[in-house]
Symmetry: D2
Subunit: 337 residues, 4 copies
Amino acid sequence: MNKKQRVALLGCGFIGEVHAANLQAHPGAELVWVADAEPARAAAFATRFGARAASVTEAINDGQIDMVLIASATPTHADLLEAAARVGKAIYCEKPVDLSLERARKAVSNVLPYNVPVTVGFNRRFDVSHLQLKQQLRQGRIGSAELIQMVCRSSSMPPLAYLQASGGQMRDQAIHFFDLLRWLTEQEVTEVAAMGAALALPSISEFADVDTSTLLLRLQSGALAQLDNARRTGYGYDERISVMGSDGMLESASQPQRGVSCYQGAQVQQPGLLPDWFSRVQPTYYAHLDAFIRSLNGEQVGDLPGLEDGLRAQAIAEAAVISLAERRFCQVENVLI
Amino acid sequence: MNKKQRVALLGCGFIGEVHAANLQAHPGAELVWVADAEPARAAAFATRFGARAASVTEAINDGQIDMVLIASATPTHADLLEAAARVGKAIYCEKPVDLSLERARKAVSNVLPYNVPVTVGFNRRFDVSHLQLKQQLRQGRIGSAELIQMVCRSSSMPPLAYLQASGGQMRDQAIHFFDLLRWLTEQEVTEVAAMGAALALPSISEFADVDTSTLLLRLQSGALAQLDNARRTGYGYDERISVMGSDGMLESASQPQRGVSCYQGAQVQQPGLLPDWFSRVQPTYYAHLDAFIRSLNGEQVGDLPGLEDGLRAQAIAEAAVISLAERRFCQVENVLI
Amino acid sequence: MNKKQRVALLGCGFIGEVHAANLQAHPGAELVWVADAEPARAAAFATRFGARAASVTEAINDGQIDMVLIASATPTHADLLEAAARVGKAIYCEKPVDLSLERARKAVSNVLPYNVPVTVGFNRRFDVSHLQLKQQLRQGRIGSAELIQMVCRSSSMPPLAYLQASGGQMRDQAIHFFDLLRWLTEQEVTEVAAMGAALALPSISEFADVDTSTLLLRLQSGALAQLDNARRTGYGYDERISVMGSDGMLESASQPQRGVSCYQGAQVQQPGLLPDWFSRVQPTYYAHLDAFIRSLNGEQVGDLPGLEDGLRAQAIAEAAVISLAERRFCQVENVLI
Amino acid sequence: MNKKQRVALLGCGFIGEVHAANLQAHPGAELVWVADAEPARAAAFATRFGARAASVTEAINDGQIDMVLIASATPTHADLLEAAARVGKAIYCEKPVDLSLERARKAVSNVLPYNVPVTVGFNRRFDVSHLQLKQQLRQGRIGSAELIQMVCRSSSMPPLAYLQASGGQMRDQAIHFFDLLRWLTEQEVTEVAAMGAALALPSISEFADVDTSTLLLRLQSGALAQLDNARRTGYGYDERISVMGSDGMLESASQPQRGVSCYQGAQVQQPGLLPDWFSRVQPTYYAHLDAFIRSLNGEQVGDLPGLEDGLRAQAIAEAAVISLAERRFCQVENVLI
């Protein structure tokens, strides 16, 4: 039988809670330490999840800890990643490694020599529908991918403070789909063109952000992809991916709520989409964590997003930021160098 | 090349119009004569469809006529059927042969000796979806049929005069589904139980009719079927058949209109069902006519509803009428004798 | 703040596990005792759910216990119900009170004088879609109910031993829908007609059971209902309710799995229905328990199924059994007396 | 009562046939002359549709003709348009006016002074679903348009000869959606970015064409649009438009065929999309013709596509061609000048 992974969780915010509950439920994990920039928050959190509070340093350096889960504020990720790697821990790190691609790249090159298992929080790879899509695509069910369409539309505007710290729609929201695109097609993105606008909250254009954007992406193979992003819809959470291949189309569609339909006159009123991103994404956190723990136990687990994946997705985001700002096509390789 | 069937159309009402337009469009038919109880109506009709008006007798007895299409008032069907058979015409006869099962039976036994091709107007056998269902069922795609569910709900109440002359919901509306059930399963119905009520138009209970009814039907094979009928819905035309077999289910579902969907808040507003029975059934008249004409040209055409089919469906209707009235299970064989 | 309900759980089988997990998760409940006919099973169960094992008698009679949850074998329900009522406990009793309507009636009349809160396990009333249907029906959204259609089809045949002890398809499976029908329409069922057959497992006809059945039910108001039941489909779990009213239709449809669609040639392959009844019904156990606990805390909670509801649903089942066997319409009131 | 429009139809190819059948069926039109580059073809065509054959010149110049319908080869459109305008005819001209934007612009400036009614064949404006979308958008049902998504995917590759004469995917296929976008949003397109590839038929890259393409379009209002085009899918005809507004989304979706669904195991097999573009588009030809005829009779008919619309859509196509070739964003206004 596998030993339980003893885990230190860094960061007790919203996403820290999600991970804490999953760690508590996972038979192969034991949540030992929780740490937070605010010690009182960590203490309350520890009580709630049957763990103990510690400082970040103590938690990382405890010799009995096998795995560190980094769910703290984005600017701390790179340092914590380096610190945890130095002491040989397995690491689950929320994305991104750093908002600065340069700092992220440096962190990755610092971490790689320690050869510790690391996964980056691109949890959407574990969405059941997207997984089925990838599996059927690999099996050649629709031939080779030619035209990929992705939609990523949140139901409601995040708070302004969140937006200001987010790095912008490309680095914060679209980045998940840059990773999904690479993962699904097993192709690199070579060229990006992006248009964006601040339509829902025009004031965010003050810090050069957009809330509505559309992108074209060219893949190595010559296939083409589209992505659109919106920060708020008036109709729930709309996440979709379709892949047209040479012999058919696979579609991982938006998901409706369960409920009753009303047929009346010339119309049918049906349940709308899931109310928010979390309703859709919630199960993927557990699935990602579970895959990582199984890989630590020596199981072959496909497609865990690693550090290199984090850098690649960030590079596409940087290219998109340039395209948005300068109204020109941007080669991803120019950003990568 | 096949010769054109020269046709006499009897009856210039609504359903006569449908047939006239189809005859005009069919490359294998030539509408020669039209006849109606009201000669003026026949004359106008003739002009409109490029035919000539005649009396019923002239039309039937014209030696150049190959085929008689009986679309006149129900009480005239049996006599016209006999008359057309006597002079050796091929006959397309609207259902029912007669509202009285006894008269219908006698007409059939009078007609059979002439050995003329006859089809009875169970045009719903030619619905594209129902046809696919039958085809897949025959191919054994879902194993053997075990549980059949049928829904037959019109969108709006017919006029009272129509109802009074219709023979009641079993003989007028449900009868199409009695035929469909036999045709789909290739099984005879042995037993019927029916409940009914006059909910939409209570006054029709004065002549022992109902506008809402539910039925159980037992088939020879032991399989079970359900049917519900309504004279008016508040939501369009709802016709559905599903067959659960030992290895899956086939469904010929209600058909929505084409149109736009509106996603808003927690709901989606979608196009409702087809507005009325004719929107759904219209193409089946042509398809039925076409199959009959092809059979006259010697082609093998499957499942043309014949006189025997007319009698069988009527017998089920009679059993249902008895079950409705007497609140008891009714064996179809008792009615047939 | 409300005090926690201290609970004794009787029965450590499959459904006992479901309740134990829900009690553990519910903030207003504390699982104190678990009891089972096999003490070793109770002991293991206690360890797993953080409770203590006891004999049934000890568990019921502990003065600190507020609520007894009866999830033991059906033949023990009536005795345990009476025993728990005698010592003044609130009771959540799995359905049915007893397979014998007479014994059930006696138990109910024994229990009523103690005036303890009791709910019977018709958990499907707490299905989110069915609840929406009822709510919209009450609000008059489609006018008055005229034609109700219910489908209750399990995905796979239960073990023979289960079937032999179940009381038959009417008392075991259809009974949930007898309750749903009364609850949704707020009408009593007056008359039943049923047809059934042992098609999937013919051997069960040896003990007069069926695995496929269809029913007609007449309601006080004159409205009509249909129900069909199957013990196994080849296509997952199919539970549906639709209500046609004078002004439209409400539909609580079968629920598909989440997943990917494949568009190819002239077909689309989509995710099928939920794999089994439990996938659909699971959340209703918690919701029912939660409603009962809230009612114990003095909250107004609508439509908790009570002892009288249990008897009424059983009476409809008895009428259906008679109709099935004797091939006749059966008045429910004759069974009730 | 309105007088019948006496029509000369120029061009007896596939699209000429469509128009001839519609003219024959339309109560307000009379097909008088048909003309074609091949006189024999025109003669046969005339017989078939009850018209007379003439030379193009005769047909246009006959003083009794009210309306000329130009359905001949693209390179002849501009000349015929000018010729018909000179003699004061109403003109229905298939798109495009000319493959060369310059020639088209000249033709338009030559025609405008004659002040004759002209409509250009952007018949997709008359698609019932798209019309509903526009109507609901105008009524403000989803607030202001922010993000438009359009899909235009034909089911099968046209013949190589067609492609060589077509002007390329932007000018031939995408152009319909450039018009739809302007019509739906009532906004001009200001900027285009396009990526394309010859994936289905790589040899077409020899004449600089693509068969798969994706586009970004910016509108005056700041709203963003996407379009993707494919020359062949493996799954039928896929045409969709969705408009996300500030308060919801309107969707004119791909249309499935009618047919039967098969539920089996964990999947449902449903009818796929319409088999080809013509199945979807067919009714719009009649609707467009009808609207034009009604406008000639003095009725107020909204949104008939005119000459200016033709030029605007062509200008967007030119900008897209430049963007495709030069991998840069392209301003439409630079092309227009």
